[in-house]
Symmetry: C3
Subunit: 321 residues, 3 copies
């Protein structure tokens, strides 16, 4: 599954994209990947000391970074020194990947051909893109749209009015009515008059036995993937931003929102309307009270509550004052 790419690439050497830079090795660029997953022939980016450890271990051939951060990178990685890493990332992404900066609607949709989907039950007016795979004993409800290249496992129940794109979905997954999964996230370089849209080349990966209730939105990753772990259940109207990674066996109540790139452990339960800020690490077996606003990392086995969220003990002390 890890090799499925939803966006077409323009293959070229690094010198084609950066003609003014000099490179020791002028290699073909295969992909743009995060520090952790980049391999030889990949371009990565490093824009914050927060990722220093990952930066020192990257296998990328090339890395967009600043003068200050460049020394953290291994010698095997050639650096492309820029002032604004995310700006340059947006520019090179749009040069390499085609149509990833705007969700152009899939114009290749058609009614599902019965021969192509054995033992799959379809409602009325279902629309399916090219090269979609759906496992046996799955159901797709009426008016749902499955865009090209999406993979859905067996025994899945997809409701009505659901829109899925750029996603890989496991077995026995339930997605209730009207969920929107795999669309572009909220990423851009703010520029007065005309923001620069950050192309989103990541995907949504939903593991086995996940259940997602009505009206949720799950954005695909920008460079990395957005991931929902096995047997995790989401209630109605949950919003999951790009690159969020949620572990297994989690329970996420209604109207919870996750900002981008946070990592949530296993067995985490989150009460209704809670919000999780971006780039946080929430440990395993954490409980987060309803309505909380989590703005710091949370350790394993913690119970937190409040806005901003603190330990349950401190929260109770606070409200008694």
């Amino acid at each position: 599954m890890s090799k499925i790419n939803f966006f077409k690439k323009r293959i070229n050497k690094i010198s084609f994209f950066y003609p003014k830079f000099k490179f020791i090795n002028d290699l073909i660029i295969n992909n743009i990947k995060p520090l952790k997953f980049a391999k030889k022939n990949d371009l990565t980016f490093y824009d914050s000391k927060k990722y220093q450890e990952l930066s020192s271990k990257t296998k990328a051939s090339y890395c967009l970074t600043t003068k200050q951060l460049a020394p953290d990178l291994p010698k095997s990685t050639e650096t492309i020194i820029v002032k604004n890493v995310l700006y340059e990332l947006a520019i090179v992404l749009s040069k390499i990947y085609i149509d990833a900066e705007i969700d152009y609607p899939d114009l290749s949709l058609n009614k599902p051909r019965k021969s192509g989907f054995k033992k799959v039950s379809f409602g009325n007016n279902v629309l399916i893109g090219k090269k979609v795979k759906i496992g046996k004993n799955s159901f797709i409800g009426s008016n749902s749209i499955i865009e090209s290249n999406v993979v859905i496992g067996k025994g899945c129940v997809i409701g009505s009015g659901v829109i899925i794109k750029n996603s890989i979905i496991g077995d026995d997954v339930v997605i209730q009515d009207n969920c929107k999964i795999g669309q572009k996230g909220f990423g851009f370089i703010p520029t007065k008059g005309k923001n620069i849209k950050l192309p989103h080349i990541g995907r949504v990966e939903i593991k086995d036995r996940v259940e997602i209730a009505s009206g949720c939105t799950i954005d695909r990753g920008s460079i990395d993937d957005t991931v929902i772990g096995k047997n995790t259940y989401l209630d109605n109207q949950v919003h999951i931003a790009h690159n969020v990674q949620i572990g297994s066996n989690c329970m996420i109540a209604g109207q919870v929102g996750f900002a981008g790139s946070s990592k949530i452990g296993d067995n985490v339960s989150i009460g209704g309307q809670a919000g999780i800020s971006g780039h946080l690490k929430i440990g395993n077996n954490v409980k987060i009270g309803g309505g909380s606003g989590v703005i710091r990392d949370v350790k394993d086995h913690s119970i937190v509550m409040g806005y901003p969220a603190v330990s349950l003990k401190d929260f109770i002390k606070k409200i008694k004052n």
Copy 2:
């Protein structure tokens, strides 16, 4: 209306479902009902001292409960003593009711037959299940789906892209675009690796002259019904969980969320983004400020605000400190 059942049942005697238990009377089980509504030949459940008073008055023939709680039940009710009441409830529900644990899409949908719906105006691509009833002078917008057995009164205006199932809707009700009404709620027995889904056999009942704005989600009841009282108005993106019962003449502003099984009185107004925890009782003529998190019962005529919500007086004192 109270007799409409949306789920098929397997009719059998209690000894069929519990062969290892001994019963004084081995009756046919008609329904699984909450303590309050269960009658002779019904199975009920009792899992918390909170419902002691209701338990003592139940008319159910059989009750799932624990050893500790069993003595509260009347002698006319035979007890089925178990360790985990909700777990056993989920198991027996799935034995008696068919397809209530997952929202399988209705595969019997069709274009509305003009002969079947006199004086009803339909937009384009409307899909209607079997045995749907719609009153005269009602409108159903384009791309909306009304699943089998749903009842809609007269003079209703249902917008576009609306999905309604397992629901009974009164007269002169307005439901704006893209609402999702009657889907399964967020109920399951958490089990690592594979949660046990709680079948939802309740319904949504929407009374006369209710107005529901765009993008709301209203889950059907699990055992009981979810109810919206007469002339109550909901703004956009409101989330109402299973078994919530809202009175008449209420005003619920945008993005408010209700957790399961709370009861809201009449003439209640709730400001935007407020959250109401589960199993609460909110009185009549209550005002709840926007953004509040209500975690305790609220008495008649109260004004509450804050997170957690306190009386307006206490809230103002608190924010002045």
Copy 3:
């Protein structure tokens, strides 16, 4: 653009609508407009001292108001003295404008005629009303509905399952899947048993280069318009109530909610799940933290956070106590 009216009017003299009042000049009523935009032959309304300055400058021929407020109006404006201004406004609106108090679905929808939309790309099952205009190089995704008289500029990308009505949309606008734009807002005169619905005759105006992510709801104005300024970006599940006016270059994160009639300046950034109360003025270059509840006006260049929102400095002081 300013002359597009989405609702049919019954043209008549003021004495026709108010036969019991005596008028110096008995003019034809062209429109009902807010104090600021009303001209000769328009009827306006004035119900709160908050709008005293606007009231003194209105060009309206007639104004619904109370005895107390009437002296603020210029002599050129004849007053119609009533007890409940909003109630009387609802009544006269429903007399002048047809079908503006309920969103009756557009029953004139059809597949787009290719001859009518040159260089526009349509997905499957798109439904278009009468007199819709769409600029060249725009895309409309599958299952989307564009109701009659809507104007969409060139280079726009409208996703799938989007519903647009009563709206005027600029160039290069992106609207992601399942947004609901232009529906009636949450406005009514509460009356036990049967609320009086406030007809909504305003529109939604979305300026050039705006981006709106999935599942947002943007209500049209009641009397005034709802406006989103140039290059403003909205994340998923944002709720914008009637008459809200948002400036240019703003960034609104996921699940933010705006109550009615607030004005937001330029270059404002708002964190996820924040709520903005009604009738507020938020200045330019303001930053509002995620989860905040803003209940007072905010001056230019401020950073505010908390519930209720205070300056960042005060917020940090507060949480340290």
